[in-house]
């Protein structure tokens, strides 16, 4: 079918594109292995001759990395809990019941998802200042929940739509209450969607920088993105530490993502798939 030449050209093209794509990631790994006296390096070697794990030790034990990790974990966990609890119930109602303002609700969630974080951030900032919620984990969690929730509700609703109604109807006929039918029949079946919603909420809080930068100002409350940015902004001195921290933070996220990216795509493009 295809000529030999085309096939070779296709492989060469893919190799070149992949090398360019992977280069920045390989570079940051390389920098994280640089010894402290080689930071002003103008060498293009990817792995330095005298590679060392010193920066990893330094960023974890000599910087506030573990503190940032703890703060990020707390905020992400709160956002995940709120996201899953609210989306699993609201999504179910949107999927199964017809009620006043149902369309309005779905539209609002869709539109809320399309608006920039700044638009919400500014009024939230002023309101939180009045309520003394600024510069606190609680304030940051509120802001994150507000931005993650619409996507979570849509994802859950989309998944519930694929579960046949007959299953709960059978339970209802057997005398189960609506809550029981939801809790014991539908919810267990929706486990994959719950996992995706949880991971999405967690990762959106885990990797957020611009909102955290405005709400948090005390250094001891820094999340990982704020902490790593503070290392990177003193460019040459901490660059290896920044790189090592970035590798540590990205690794779990990248691994999870490689396994789950198909689900994200189907959740995001549900409009096109369902026709």
């Amino acid at each position: 079918m295809k000529g030999r030449g085309t096939r070779i050209a296709a492989h060469v093209f893919l190799v070149v594109v992949t090398l360019v794509t992977v280069y920045p990631i390989v570079q940051i790994v390389g920098i994280s292995l640089r010894p402290a006296d080689r930071l002003y390096s103008t060498s293009l070697r990817v792995i330095p001759e005298d590679a060392t794990g010193r920066a990893y030790y330094s960023v974890v034990f000599e910087k506030d990395f573990l503190l940032w990790l703890r703060n990020s974990a707390i905020v992400s966990a709160i956002v995940t809990l709120v996201g899953v609890a609210l989306a699993s119930t609201a999504g179910y109602v949107f999927s199964r019941f017809r009620f006043v303002a149902r369309k309005f609700g779905l539209y609002s969630l869709l539109i809320a998802q399309m608006f920039p974080a700044t638009m919400l951030l500014l009024p939230l900032y002023v309101l939180m200042k009045g309520l003394h919620l600024l510069d606190s984990m609680a304030g940051l969690s509120v802001a994150y929940a507000a931005t993650a929730l619409p996507f979570c509700v849509w994802t859950m609703k989309g998944y519930y739509d694929t579960i046949p109604r007959e299953l709960e109807e059978a339970a209802l006929i057997d005398g189960a209450s609506y809550w029981r039918a939801f809790r014991t029949v539908v919810l267990p079946l929706a486990a994959p969607a719950l996992a995706i919603t949880a991971i999405f909420s967690f990762m959106s809080a885990w990797s957020e920088f611009m909102v955290a930068r405005v709400i948090i100002s005390t250094r001891t409350l820094y999340t990982l993105p704020l902490g790593l940015e503070s290392l990177s902004s003193t460019f040459q001195t901490e660059w290896a530490n920044y790189a090592a921290g970035s590798v540590l933070v990205s690794l779990p996220v990248v691994l999870i993502f490689l396994f789950l990216n198909r689900y994200f795509v189907s959740g995001l493009t549900l409009g096109g798939v369902k026709q």
Partner: protein, 296 residues
Amino acid sequence: MKASTEKKIFPYMLLLPTVVVMVLVVAYPLVYNFVLSFKNMSMYHYYDARFVGLRHYASIFTQTELYWVFGKTLIWTVVNVFLHVALGVGIALVLNGRVVGSGVFRSLLILPWAVPQYISALTWRGMFNHEYGAVNLILKNVLHLAPIPWFSDATWAFAAPIITNVWLGFPFMMIVALGGLQSIPHELYEAAELDGAGPLGKLKNVTLPLLKPVLAPAVVLGTVWTFNNMNVIWLVTGGGLPADKTHILVTYIYKAAFTYYRYSYAAAFSVIVFFLLLGFTLAFMRHFKVTEAVFE
């Protein structure tokens, strides 16, 4: 509880927590943002802010910032989304052919999407550093070209985040396109071949028309994401360097609010952006009729 009463109450009970949260943290702040846009709240008038009517709107529409920043936002969005789709679909087409190790290529090419965005942006900022950044080192030492003054020249300073964001964004389109390609039935290609279609004819008459419905929502989503993306511009250009010449609408508002403390001015600006995006969203929903199917 009687079954019929439960049936009536149950959905509202389940919905209530979400409605309360959405009203408190989304709806109320949005309304407050409107109110704010008619006041004069700033660093000097924080606690004694009062209503000043349409003053901010008048100054925004009569000054040139809005038009400049809007123009840059358009360039930013169009260039990015175009390159995301072109690269994503192009690579997906090659990857979908008979390729040795296509799974490995796929996993490696998806990496820019997997890495947290702020880390990619900060890393690229380092790579654009004038003296020590990898980009200029490659230009100088490998290609023997003059190094580029990335952050002192306004045009290059705008090109840097665009390059970063193209790198960040094409994997999403690639994955969507790959999914679409795999769902095209093989018989269609065989039929096209029987009709005497060459590779180009098959691409034009089978592949692209069938990819369109899959790509359309992804393109709209990508457009909104790109339009709203603060991370890349802010972190790569260090908050709009040089001299606030590299802003798009969202970063401009962010800086006006949180660096210059012009709260009400920023609120008015974001109301204008709100209506721009609302118009775009509604037009899109009407055009593609996405909602019809999903609302059922």
